[in-house]
Amino acid sequence: MDVGAIVIVEAQGWTDESPSQSKMAELSSATSFAGGTPAFIDLLGRSLLEHTIDRLLTAHVKFTSLIVHPDVAASIPVFRCPMGNLTMRVADDPWAAVAQILESYWRTGCDCAVVVKPTAYIEADLADLLDFHREGERMVTRASDREGSLDLWIMNCNPNEEVAGDSLTAALLQPDLFPASYFVKEYVRRISHPEDFRQLVTDAFLERCSLHPIGEQRRPGIWADEDVEIGRGARIVGPAYLGARCKIGERAVITRFTNIERDCYIDYGTVIENSSVLPNTYVGIWLDVRHSIVQGNRLLNLERGVLVEISDSRLLRSNVPAGQSKRTPTFVPKPAHPSPLPQAKTFHRIRSVSTTTEFES
């Protein structure tokens, strides 16, 4: 029997249940830093969403469906690689959409489907997980690791099966009904906090996981994608990643566990250390960026737990107007049910944070 896959992207920002980091979580979620959902952040050349779908395709799923909440549908990233027969659906209630998609998979000959939310980077052995599910003759199998349940399920597609006297379709609306039963031994990194994102980048550089930067390794520990320009006297100290069409100005220093994503410009003499510079960002002359995530004119300092918005465009700015990307679209998922997409509201939200320090010219 064939296997389908469903990826659910919800409208959630960063979350963190740890009280010690609640301030950071509140700050991050309130500002919708990095597009409102961690799934859309570029991570060594591709978004976490694309990495997730790519892993599903590698496991030879027959169909893949993407369910996106209307609040984040406008900011869905363009995929770097062809994504096969991926279809996209914008839905308020993801589990109702899952039930419909499972039924359609059943009609096309799939007995079960992998359902995943890209809230974590999970390297589970999907073939082993499917075997476990089928051997146990379960209707739903949920994966877990040492820290608890993961947002990864295997679900039977047959709509006529019953769970606790209810149809599977109705039971899916209460996903917590199914306790986690499959233990993932492989690498897992939950992305509930910006620090987790940085840790995943570090782990990838140190080859603790199988996430590889896009592009080629020019020197040991230094990866660069296509059309990267490096100015005279600039220094790149590995491990480091330079995304497509990046420009590194003269005498700039990119050092230790830094990823500069696509279409960024790091200007003259600036030092970037142990930081992530997200796509389409200009970082001005002679600055010092450490332990931070930078996106457009926003800088999240992880050491201090502070997000600052800088309105002096000589320091930090977005390279392109909001909503436009320089990246040549390789693949755009086709919507299963076209619906009007709302405008992104991230800018208004960030203005409301009281701890934000503006830096105005």
Binding site: L287, D288, L299, V308, T355, T357, S361
Partner: protein, 131 residues
């Protein structure tokens, strides 16, 4: 004596822009033109800072250094600290958690107690003349 020259603590305005701080700048200028100015800028109130604000801090430091004095920062909010770090200005100033600590730091290392003329300096002068 150290006690004869007090440490002046000044509260930095909430909006630290050159265009909006004329009174503050005038007052600061007066303080800086005294002999060996010892100034603590209490930054706890800063909500917005721009490049002219950072420039003012640097000018202030420059003036104080010319007169053998010093300017120290106190209670810098995390947001302002990130901006100072980003512009590589943070390492030029001594930064303290509170104005009281900053004031005490002046008392710990009084400028007056450093001898202006050391025996080795005289020897150095002689050596230089001999060469």
């Amino acid at each position: 004596m150290c006690a004869s020259r007090p440490v002046i603590v000044m509260q930095v305005p909430e909006r630290f822009y050159k265009s909006e701080t004329s009174d503050f700048r005038q007052e600061l200028k007066t303080m800086l033109h005294s002999e060996r100015p010892r100034i603590v800028l209490d930054c706890s109130g800063i909500k917005h800072i721009d490049s002219s604000g950072v420039e003012m801090l640097l000018d202030c430091m420059d003036e104080a250094m010319k007169r053998d004095g010093d300017v120290k920062l106190a209670a810098v909010a995390p947001g302002s600290a990130v901006i100072l770090e980003l512009m590589k200005v943070d390492r030029l100033f001594e930064v303290f958690d509170s104005a009281e600590e900053a004031v005490r730091s002046f008392q710990g290392f009084p400028v007056e107690e450093i001898p202006q003329s050391q025996p080795w300096m005289e020897n150095f002068g002689e050596l230089k003349a001999a060469s």
